[in-house]
Every structure is written in C-alpha cells, then in structure tokens.
C-alpha cells in the first residue's frame, strides 16, 4: 500500500518535470553513446555531462550550481524494493 501510494505521488511529480521529460526524449541516444556517464538538466535542457559525479560537478556552469538540477546516471541499475510496507494497517 505504501509503495503504490508513493508511486502515484511520484508519477505526478515526474510527469510534470520538464527536465525529466527532456531526458526521456534523448534517453535512447544517450544510452548508446554515454552509458555510465552522468548528465545534468535545467530549464528543460541538458547543461552538462561527465564520466562521473566529480567530472559532472566540474562541468556544470557556475550559474546553475545553486539551482535544483535533474541529474541522471545513464544506464544506472534499477532499484528493487524487497518489502511491501513499513507501515501498520490503519496508519
């Protein structure tokens, strides 16, 4: 129950996010050419890439440093939740 509820919330947030949508539009191409790299998006556009978090941080323009950026690791491993819920029934 907890995961489903969270999924609904997260789906709404994800759909509305222009940076996530920008990533999805070019995801196929990125997975072919930049697997394992990290990319950063702001204002619906890709603003920096790097082979790891350290290089990406160096490549992000200074004016974006203190803004909330969408960061994606290309081809990152998928998370599997192994428990249904931590919450007791009725909460």
């Amino acid at each position: 129950m907890t995961v489903k509820s969270f999924s609904e919330q997260a789906s709404s947030a994800a759909v509305a996010d222009e940076n996530y949508l920008a990533y999805l539009r070019e995801a196929d191409g990125l997975e072919k050419t930049m697997a394992g790299h990290m990319v950063a998006y702001a204002d619906g556009e890709r603003i920096a890439t790097g082979k790891d978090g350290r290089e990406l941080a160096k490549n992000i323009p200074e004016e974006y440093r203190y803004r909330s950026l969408f960061i994606k690791t290309i081809g990152s491993p998928q998370i599997h939740f192994r428990r249904p819920s931590f919450r007791r029934q009725g909460q």
Binding site: Y20, M38, G53, I79, R83
Partner: protein
C-alpha cells in the same frame, strides 16, 4: 565502539537504527540528521521525503523502480554529486564518516530513512539481537 539501543515499536519486533546526516559538499547543503532503520535488505540508503523537500535547491532524479510484487513504480532520488555521509550516536557525536561521489538516495514517504548496503558495507557493525543493541 558506539552502541545504539534498538527502537521498540508496539506490535513490531524491535529494530536497529542510527541517526544519519548527509552533506552535499558541492552545493553546501546539509540533510538531517534523521533516523534511519538499519536495513541490509536495501541496496541503497534511502532518505525520508521530508528531508528532501526543503530547501528546494538539491539535485534530484526520477526513475523507475520495482515494488515488492515486481510492478514498476516511479521513484524520486535525492542526488548528491559530492557527499559526506555521517552516522551520529545517540549523543550526536559523529561515529562514522565517509565521502562518496555521485550518490543517489531513493526518497521514501516514510518518516524515517534506511541505512542500506551502499553505506552499511563500509562500516564494521554488530547486531546484538538478544542485547537489543546495534554496535559500530
């Protein structure tokens, strides 16, 4: 050695927990401290939603994960490019500290987080079940 008494919740088994603090050294942000359940079943250390909701300048990621039944679910991550993860004892002293590059912390709707294998595997710890204490 630092000792963390298990958390006792009515109608549930007592469980080990620690207090965690995450520093974003790139953006000069601090998340926490917040309570984390010690969970060797979780591959990643997870943060509670309330810790990632503010101040709103943190980096983030959206992705698809899989729930307990194998169904795909959307999930948000708190992303920290240059992270320092600290474990604090019940008195607030740092008992474990390690730097990580390019960390992604799944955001959970719960009030507490999870101390998962990505950090747990970097420390020597003991779960003393009969003694109801977690030891680092």
């Amino acid at each position: 050695m630092s000792r963390f008494p298990y958390n006792a919740v009515p109608d549930h088994p007592p469980y080990p927990w620690v207090s965690l603090r995450i520093k974003d050294n790139y953006k000069n942000l601090v998340f926490g401290p917040f309570q984390c359940r010690v969970d060797s079943g979780s591959e990643a250390t997870c943060v509670p939603a309330w810790i990632a909701g503010d101040p709103g300048v943190h980096d983030y990621e959206e992705d698809v994960a899989y729930d307990f039944a194998g169904n795909p679910v959307d999930i948000s991550f708190l992303v920290v490019l240059d992270a320092t993860v600290e474990v604090l004892d019940p008195q607030g002293s740092v008992v474990f500290q390690k730097s990580y590059i390019g960390m992604r912390f799944p955001v959970l709707p719960d009030s507490e987080g999870l101390l998962g294998l990505d950090v747990l595997n970097d420390m020597v710890s003991t779960m003393d079940g009969p003694g109801l204490v977690f030891i680092i």
